[in-house]
C-alpha cells in the first residue's frame, strides 16, 4: 500500500516512523520546517496555563497541584472538541482516562526509542509535574520534556544557580531569578533559593551581539564545549563558599545554549564539572535550539527507518469522488520547476496550521490549503471562508477563534464534512491541523501531534490489513 504523509513535524514524522516500524512503505513529503522546529523543549501533553481557558494548575479546592494524569482527565472531561476527546472518547469516564494514559505512555516510549540514537531522550510521565523554567523566568508545569530542559525540575532543588553568561543576548540572569521567585509565590509553593552565578566564557565565544543561536552552535564543537565545561568547573571550584546544597539538591540552570545535537553527552560532562544537576532553561518561541534539535533527531530517525523523504511542496491532490489518487508536487530545488505526480493509496495530512502551511488565507478568507476542508473553531462554529481579522479580537486576551480553528475528524482521524460524515475514504489528519483547541492556552501541542500521529498510523495500518485481507 502506497502511503504518503504530508508534513514532517512531530505528527507526520511520528506517523511515518510508526508505519515504517510496521514494515509499511511510506513516503513523507516535506515543504520545510513548521511549528515543531519552533518548539522549545517540552512535550506538552496536558500542561496548565494561567489563562482562564487553559487547563488548571490546581485542584478545585486549590489546595494542591494537579498531577498531569488528573489534568489529562480534566481535559477529557471538559474540552469536548479537543482532539483528545476525539481520540479517547468524549464521556470522560474511567475508560477514556485509562485509554488516554496508556496511549501517552506508549507514545512517549516510542518517541524516546526513535530519538535516543540522536542523544535526545523523552523524560517525564503523568504522575508528577516537573516545574521547568523558561528563558524569561516563567514556570511551566510540564509532564514530558526533552533532554536539556528536562533535567531542570525546580521542585527537587534546594538551591538553584542561574548562570549569567556575559554578553549573551536574550538572557538576563537577574530578572530571570526575580521572575522565578515571583512565579513560586504565584503558584504558592515553597521556593528554592535562587542565586545568580557568573559564567565567564573566553573572549570571542560570544559573538554577533550575543546571538543565542551562535553561542548554541559553538557548543557543538569540541573546542566550544570544552570552554563551557571549563567555565562551569572553574565556577564549581571558586564557589564552594556560600553553597548550602550539594549534588542532586543543587541545580545549575543554563540558558538554552547546548547546541543542536548530542545534548545527553554534553550534560553528562557538565554535570561532572559542576558537581550538581545541570539543565537548560526551556526556550521560548520563536527561537530555541530545542525545536531544531527535535526536528534534527526526527529527521535522523526517518532516515534510519528508511522512510523516503521528498523535499517538495504539494501543489494539488488529485481525487476521484471520495478517493484521493495522487499528489502533484513541486520540487523545492530552484533548478527544477517541474511538477511531478506521486500516486498514493492513503494520504495523511499533517501540515499544521498557519505556520506549517496547513491553513492559509486566500481571497479574503481562511481555508484549509489543499482540499478546502471545512474548518471549525473551539466552539464548533464553522469558520472557513471568514476573514482572518474577523476571527481575532483587538486584544490578545480571551479566546481567539482564528487560533483554535482547524479540521474536525472522527475518532479514526478522518476529516469530517459539514454533515458529520468522513469526506474521503483514504484521507487522515494528524497534528495541529485538527482544530478545537488553542495550543497557546490549552498547552497540549506536541502531545496532540504525537498522539494523533500514532493513532493515524494505526488506522492506516488497519486499513492496509483490511485491503490485503
Amino acid at each position: 500500500m502506497r502511503v504518503v504523509v504530508i508534513g514532517s513535524g512531530l505528527a507526520g514524522a511520528a506517523a511515518a516512523l510508526e508505519l515504517a516500524s510496521r514494515e509499511m512503505k511510506v513516503t513523507l513529503v516535506s515543504a520545510g520546517v513548521g511549528a515543531t522546529a519552533l518548539s522549545f523543549g517540552s512535550l506538552d501533553v496536558a500542561v496548565p496555563s494561567p489563562e482562564g481557558s487553559g487547563l488548571p494548575l490546581r485542584d478545585a479546592t486549590a489546595t494542591r497541584l494537579l498531577a498531569p494524569r488528573e489534568r489529562l482527565a480534566a481535559c477529557l472531561r471538559t474540552r469536548l472538541r479537543h482532539p483528545y476527546a476525539t481520540l479517547f472518547g468524549r464521556s470522560g469516564g474511567g475508560a477514556a482516562e485509562s485509554a488516554a494514559t496508556d496511549a501517552v505512555k506508549s507514545a512517549a516510549a516510542s518517541l524516546d526509542r526513535w530519538l535516543a540514537p540522536s542523544g535526545l531522550r523523552v523524560e517525564g510521565g503523568l504522575d508528577a509535574a516537573r516545574l521547568l523554567a523558561n528563558v524569561h523566568g516563567a514556570v511551566r508545569a510540564c509532564d514530558f520534556a526533552f533532554t536539556g530542559p528536562a533535567e531542570g525540575d525546580l521542585q527537587g532543588a534546594a538551591e538553584v544557580e542561574i548562570a549569567a553568561v556575559t554578553g549573551l543576548a536574550q538572557h538576563d540572569a537577574r530578572p530571570l531569578a526575580r521572575a522565578l521567585a515571583a512565579e513560586f509565590a504565584a503558584i504558592g509553593l515553597p521556593r528554592p533559593s535562587f542565586r545568580v552565578v557568573p559564567l565567564p566564557l573566553p573572549a570571542g565565544f560570544v559573538v554577533d551581539g550575543g546571538s543565542p543561536a551562535r553561542v548554541a552552535a559553538r557548543t557543538d564543537t569540541e573546542e566550544g564545549l570544552r570552554a563551557l565545561v571549563a567555565a562551569v568547573a572553574a565556577r564549581h571550584r571558586d564557589e564552594t563558599l556560600g553553597r548550602r546544597a550539594e549534588g542532586e539538591r543543587r541545580l545549575l540552570l543554563l540558558p538554552p545554549i547546548l547546541g543542536f545535537s548530542g545534548v545527553l553527552a554534553k550534560l553528562t560532562r557538565l554535570r561532572e564539572a559542576a558537581g550538581c544537576r545541570v539543565a537548560e532553561c526551556l526556550g521560548a518561541p520563536p527561537a530555541s535550539p530545542a525545536g531544531l534539535r527535535l526536528a534534527g533527531a526526527l529527521a535522523a530517525a526517518l532516515s534510519r527507518e528508511s522512510v523516503v523523504v521528498r523535499h517538495a511542496r504539494v501543489r494539488t491532490l488529485e481525487r476521484t469522488g471520495r478517493q484521493l489518487r495522487a499528489l502533484r508536487l513541486q520540487s523545492r530545488e530552484a533548478s527544477s520547476n517541474t511538477e511531478e505526480r506521486l500516486e498514493a493509496e492513503v494520504i495523511l495530512l499533517a501540515c499544521g496550521r498557519f505556520l506549517g502551511g496547513g491553513l492559509s488565507e486566500h481571497e479574503g478568507g481562511v481555508h484549509e490549503t489543499l482540499l478546502d476542508l471545512p474548518l471549525y473553531d473551539e466552539a464548533g462554529v464553522r469558520v472557513d471562508g471568514s476573514a482572518a481579522s474577523r476571527l481575532v479580537r483587538a486584544s490578545p486576551e480571551g479566546p481567539q477563534r482564528l487560533f483554535s480553528s482547524g479540521v474536525r475528524t472522527d475518532s479514526r482521524l478522518r476529516p469530517l464534512g459539514a454533515d458529520g460524515e468522513p469526506l474521503f475514504e483514504n484521507l487522515f489528519v494528524a497534528g495541529d491541523l485538527i482544530g478545537g483547541f488553542d495550543p497557546s492556552t490549552q498547552r497540549t501541542g506536541l502531545g496532540v501531534a504525537l498522539l494523533t500521529g500514532l493513532r493515524a498510523a494505526s488506522e492506516i495500518a488497519r486499513l492496509a490489513e483490511q485491503e490485503s485481507a
Partner: protein, 607 residues
C-alpha cells in the same frame, strides 16, 4: 535567600525613589537622569501641554531662549499624530495648487531641519507613474513638477526628471507595466517620534522639565486667568500642580479637550489617517498611487520598512481608542495595487492610525482642507489670558510653527531673545561621525552601528560608552548585545534611554527606539528588552510581566487590522510567544507583592 538584585543599579535607583526625592520618570534639567528634588508644585514660566512635534518644538525653542519651561505629555513623546504621520518632511506637492504658502514653509523649513538634525533624515526618491486613464496627463504633471522644482533648492532636493515607460520599469520592475511614463521627484523622510524626543531632550538639556505619561486634568485659574495646570502621572497615579505664567496648549487632536478645561471652544476638523507598515522594503523608491476616489497616496520606504498611505477621513470617535478598520486597509491596498500589482504579496506587519488636528473648515472635502496653522491667544480671543493654543500645521514646518508660537509667548513674557532653532543643532546633529570606527571600537555590527548613529548622531559613542555593564561586568569592555534584531537595538541603547532619556515603559521603546515594530512585532525581542529595562529601572517581576503584556498587546492591536497571507502565521507565532509562554505571575504595573525588588514608587516633597 541571596537576593539576585542586591547590587543592581536598578535597585539603587529604586531605593532613591523610595526616599522621596523625585518623581519617577521624566528628564531633569541636565538631560541626565539624576535624583534631583522636585517639589509637589513646580513653578515655571511656560507649561507646554503635549509632547508631539509642536509641543516639543515649542519647548525647545523656549528653552533655547532661556525661558523656564515644563512639558507634559500624557503618553510617550510623539506618540499621537506625530507617530502616525508618514514621517516625511516633504514640501507637499499636493498643497501647491491651493496652499502654496504651506509648500513654501515646508520646503524652507525642511532645509533647516536637514541642517540641525542631519542624522535623523533620509532622502526618499519618488517615482510618479502616469497611466493612460489618469485624469491629468503627463504634460500637466510636468508643469506642476516644474513649478515644484523652484522649491526644491530650499530643501536640497533634486529637480524632477521624466522617464519613459521602459526606463521606469528598469528602475522599479515592480511597477505596473500599464504605465505610460513616469516622473521622479525628491523628498525627505524623518523619524518623527525620534525628532519629537530629540527636541524634548534638548529642551531638557537646557533646563526644561519634561514629563511623559503625565496628563493635564484641570487648569489652574486665578480670576479668569489661566496660571498653570493640575496633572496626573498615569503610571504612579500621583497628582501635582505646575504653576506657570503661560500655558501653551499643543495637544494636537486633543487640544479641544484641553481648551474645554478652560471652558473654551476650539474647533478642529479632525482627519483620521491610516498607514500600512510592511515588514521590509517593498521598494527603495516611493511610488505614487491613486485611490479609487482619485486621492494621491504612496508606498514609500521608511527606515527599515515600507509604508503605504494615507487615508484622510473625518473622525468623530474616541481619540484614545482609535481602531483601524478593514475598509481603510482595503482602500489603501486597492490604491497601491494600481501602481504596484504585487503589493498584496508583501506582508503588512502593523498599521498606524492617527488624527490630524486640521483647522476647522465647513463644506469641503477632507483633502481640500488647509494644512495651515493657527496660534490662538485666548486672552485676546476669549478674554481668558494665560492660555495659548496651537492648531493645524504640518510636521515638515514644525520648527517654523514653533518659532511663531514661541515669538508670541515671548512677547507676552517680555522676553527679547531671538529664535535660534534654525541654527542650533539638535542633540547629535553637531558633527558627522565615522560609523565604521564606531562599529570597530565597540565591536557592534555595522547595521546596529548605523542605526544607532541614525537615532543618536554624534552622541552614538556616548550611548555605547556609558551604559554597557551587564550582569557582572566581567570583561573590561563589554560588547553591546543585540536585543531587537530587526531594528537593531542594543541593550546599551535601552539602558541609555531608561537612565538618560527618561524612558518610562517598554511600550514607549517602539516609538523612541523602534524596538519590536519590524518583522516579529516583538515576539522575539520584547521579553529580552523587558529584562534589560527591569534591570535598569528596578522593575519587579510583576511590573516586568505587566510591561511585557502591555507591549505585546499593543503590537497585537496594531497587527490585527491588516491580517492576511503570511501575517497570519506571524500572528500565530506572536501568540505562542506571548500567551503561550506566560507564567503564573500576574502582571502588575505598580509591582506590588514582590519581595526581591523594591516597588518603584515616587513620593514627593511637600512644597
Amino acid at each position: 535567600m541571596n537576593s539576585p538584585s542586591a547590587s543592581s543599579p536598578g535597585k539603587a535607583k529604586a531605593d532613591a525613589a523610595c526616599e522621596g526625592t523625585r518623581p519617577s520618570g521624566g528628564v531633569c534639567a541636565t538631560g541626565r537622569w539624576r535624583d534631583t528634588p522636585v517639589r509637589r508644585t513646580l513653578t515655571t514660566q511656560v507649561l507646554v501641554v503635549g509632547g508631539g512635534i509642536n509641543g516639543a518644538g515649542i519647548a525647545r525653542d523656549l528653552a533655547l531662549r532661556g525661558v523656564r519651561v515644563a512639558l507634559v505629555e500624557k503618553g510617550e513623546l510623539g506618540g499621537g499624530t506625530s507617530w502616525a504621520s508618514s514621517g516625511m518632511i516633504h514640501g507637499g506637492l499636493r498643497y501647491l495648487q491651493k496652499d502654496p504658502q504651506v509648500t513654501l514653509h515646508s520646503c524652507v523649513d525642511s532645509g533647516n531641519i536637514q541642517r540641525i538634525a542631519p542624522h535623523l533624515i533620509f532622502r526618499i526618491p519618488f517615482l510618479m507613474p502616469v497611466f493612460r486613464d489618469d485624469p491629468i496627463g503627463p504634460e500637466l504633471v510636468e508643469i506642476a513638477l516644474e513649478m515644484y522644482d523652484r522649491f526644491q533648492p530650499f530643501k536640497r532636493g533634486k529637480p524632477h526628471t521624466r522617464l519613459s515607460r521602459e526606463q521606469a520599469l528598469r528602475l522599479e520592475p515592480a511597477l505596473s507595466p500599464q504605465l505610460e511614463c513616469a516622473f521622479t521627484l525628491d523628498e525627505w523622510g524623518v523619524d518623527a517620534a525620534r525628532l519629537c524626543a530629540a527636541n524634548a531632550l534638548d529642551a531638557a538639556d537646557r533646563g526644561a522639565q519634561v514629563r511623559t505619561h503625565t496628563e493635564v486634568i484641570s487648569l489652574l485659574r486665578d480670576a479668569g486667568r489661566v496660571r498653570g495646570a493640575r496633572v496626573r502621572d498615569g503610571i504612579t497615579g500621583e497628582e501635582w500642580e505646575i504653576e506657570a505664567e503661560l500655558v501653551m496648549n499643543a495637544a494636537g487632536p486633543w487640544l479641544p479637550k484641553v481648551a474645554r478645561l478652560a471652558g473654551l471652544e476650539v474647533k478642529l476638523r479632525p482627519g483620521k489617517g491610516v498607514h500600512l507598515v510592511f515588514e521590509r522594503r517593498v521598494s527603495d523608491l516611493a511610488i505614487y498611487a491613486t485611490g479609487i476616489d482619485g486621492r494621491d497616496m504612496f508606498t514609500f520606504p521608511h527606515e527599515q520598512n515600507s509604508m503605504a498611505g494615507t487615508t484622510d477621513d473625518d473622525f468623530y470617535g474616541d481619540l484614545d481608542r482609535m481602531e483601524t478598520t478593514e475598509d481603510e486597509v482595503a482602500y489603501v491596498l486597492q490604491a497601491m495595487e494600481r501602481s504596484i500589482p504585487s503589493i498584496r504579496r508583501h506582508r503588512v506587519c502593523h498599521v498606524t492610525a492617527g488624527v490630524r488636528p486640521t483647522l476647522f473648515g465647513f463644506g469641503r472635502y477632507e483633502d481640500e482642507l488647509s494644512r495651515d496653522y493657527q496660534v490662538i491667544d485666548h486672552g485676546a480671543r476669549d478674554g481668558v489670558p494665560g492660555l495659548f493654543t496651537i492648531a493645524g500645521g504640518k510636521l515638515a514646518a514644525y520648527r517654523l510653527m514653533a518659532e511663531d508660537a514661541t515669538d508670541r509667548l515671548c512677547a507676552r513674557l517680555g522676553v527679547r531673545e531671538l529664535c535660534r532653532t534654525a541654527q542650533t543643532p539638535l542633540p547629535g546633529g553637531e558633527a558627522p561621525l565615522d560609523v565604521a570606527a564606531l562599529s570597530r571600537r565597540f565591536r557592534v555590527g555595522w547595521p546596529a552601528a548605523l542605526r544607532l548613529f541614525f537615532r543618536h548622531g554624534a552622541h552614538a559613542p556616548r550611548v555605547l560608552e556609558q551604559s554597557v555593564p551587564t550582569p557582572f561586568a566581567e570583561p573590561a569592555t563589554p560588547v553591546p548585545r543585540i536585543v531587537c534584531a530587526c531594528e537593531p537595538v542594543t541593550d546599551a541603547e535601552l539602558v541609555h534611554a531608561a537612565l538618560r532619556e527618561g524612558l518610562r515603559t517598554l511600550t514607549d521603546c517602539s516609538l523612541r527606539l523602534r524596538l519590536g515594530i519590524g518583522a516579529c512585532q516583538g515576539a522575539s525581542c520584547a521579553a529580552a528588552a523587558a529584562s534589560v529595562l527591569a534591570e535598569a529601572l528596578g522593575w519587579s517581576a510583576e511590573q516586568t510581566a505587566h510591561e511585557l503584556a502591555t507591549f505585546l498587546a499593543e503590537r497585537w492591536r496594531v497587527a490585527t487590522p491588516a491580517l492576511a497571507g503570511a501575517q497570519i502565521a506571524a500572528l500565530e507565532l506572536h501568540r505562542a510567544a506571548d500567551v503561550g509562554a506566560r507564567g503564573f505571575t500576574r502582571g502588575d504595573r505598580a509591582g506590588r507583592g514582590s519581595e526581591d525588588s523594591p516597588r518603584r514608587s515616587a513620593s514627593w516633597e511637600t512644597a
